[in-house]
Symmetry: C2
Subunit: 297 residues, 2 copies
């Protein structure tokens, strides 16, 4: 187990992704580094009001402590009071064009004593659905899970896809957040090298999963109607992140850096009472054809 190697990979991944997104947008990312008095810190990279991205945040963070609080180890009481090291790289991209989907990706690592695990995943939240985009995203997710050969993807993809559908579920709406992707946690299979390779593969596949979709849709013409629907749907993103997302809530409750945690929220969101899309509209199609968990590959 080599936490330093994991952190180095996360930091390089952040650099690589930020460089690619900045080049594509034409506006560069702002950088803020911060440290935690108790140990650890992070680097927040953010681009607002860009040409392509209305808000794009790519976070690297690390939380180290000398004694794991009991609340963080409820399911593994043997870890309570042990020194720990938790780190992650996470991003949320909110493009301006409503035909370009919002996307989220995260890889994370936790260790305390001899115990360690990886977590991560990526998921897509379109405003207007395109089957080929969703198929491409899921196919790339599946590829990402095959670092040790084809059989690994076949094993993990269905499980991590289902986990993603279950996690990104707005139960009070009876709606998924988007069209899913993959999600995993507590991953420590075979050995450290194998598990780390799988997490790396997820991080390494992100640009291949998302950029072709962005390239395909970024030139689509849109108007006030599409922007309004995007703002309305972004309200759902806010609801999910503030009501359900464990990372967000844990971060806010544990005194994390609020501005870095809430970077995932959209730049603007709208709420309309009991609004329904027009029958037969492209907006209705999102609900009928895309916001239902289904097999995409």
């Amino acid at each position: 187990m080599d936490a330093a190697a994991v952190h180095e990979y996360f930091a390089r991944l952040q650099g690589r992704i930020v460089a690619a997104l900045g080049a594509l947008d034409g506006k560069s990312f702002r950088e803020d580094s911060w440290s935690r008095p108790e140990g650890g810190g992070g680097t927040t990279r953010i681009l607002e009001e860009g040409n392509l991205f209305e808000r794009a945040g790519v976070n690297l963070s690390r939380v180290q402590g000398s004694a794991l609080p009991p609340s963080a180890s409820a399911s593994r009481p043997q870890l309570a009071g042990q020194p720990y090291d938790a780190m992650g790289m996470s991003l949320v991209l909110h493009p301006r064009n409503p035909y370009c989907p919002t996307v989220h990706m995260n890889v994370r690592f936790f260790c305390a004593g001899a115990t360690w695990w990886f977590g991560g995943g990526m998921d897509l939240t379109p405003y207007y659905g395109f089957e080929e985009d969703v198929r491409h995203f899921h196919a790339t997710c599946k590829q990402a899970l095959a670092p040790a050969g084809k059989e690994a993807g076949a094993e993990y993809y269905p499980k991590f896809k289902r986990w993603c559908d279950e996690y990104f579920d707005l139960r009070h709406r009876g709606e998924p957040r988007g069209v899913g992707g993959i999600f995993f946690d507590d991953f420590a299979e075979r050995d450290f090298a194998f598990s780390f390779a799988l997490a790396r593969s997820v991080g390494d596949h992100f640009l291949a999963a998302y950029l072709p979709i962005l390239e395909r849709r970024k030139g689509f013409a849109f108007g006030e109607k599409e922007r309004g629907f995007q703002a309305y749907r972004r309200g759902r993103y806010v609801e999910f992140n503030l009501v359900y997302d464990r990372g967000t809530l844990f971060g806010l409750q544990s005194g994390g850096r609020t501005e870095s945690i809430l970077m995932s929220l959209p730049p603007r969101a709208e709420w309309r009472y009991d609004w329904k899309p027009e029958a037969g509209s492209a907006e209705e199609k999102l609900y009928t054809d895309f916001l239902k968990p289904k097999d995409w590959v």
Copy 2:
């Protein structure tokens, strides 16, 4: 104890408030009635895109059940499994003009067997602060707590004012939601008649607490800058309601009517990374002079 009388008062109060606000706005409220299969129901009155109000929701709701779930009676285990009746009238008004504050008011009643209590309160969330408005609002709150004579207001106001400051606290921001007001729960003092009179007095004082402020500010000229600041600050309202508000979270988790519960959210909200108001600006004054709990009467 007379639950029917409480419900009748809440229903009349909703009607009275909706009539006054609709007359002032010039656009009338929409009405949706709904019922719960398990018992109870409600009437949602909402006005969107009005002349004065961008979104104004006034909710009446009642939840009846044959057996109180253990999660709802953790602090009073003797009530678990008993038939219960919970009802409330709550409102949130989001005026369009950023010089007009957002306001929230709620009165509620719970009974199970021989146990009953009232709760309620009102609080103000300005975007641009005016001392006379805040003083007027708090002075009216204090008056509202004196239905049994001056000494009652003197007794309850400091306690309920502090409770409000403690409740509407965005801990992750180190900021209160607004300039406070009053908040109380579990109120069952002297006898039913006394406690009901206090809750009624809070409901009856709402229009007197808020309308003079609205009248005073509704003609103020504003532009994109003020609307932008309002949208940014409304993001804090969203954060509070989705992360901390017990009524909202309990409603969403217990299968309440989502559209009625989330009527409290602003029509639009914005997030900007690590944004700070300009030194010496009216926006900065909100933070320095108003968003600090202090004595206003």
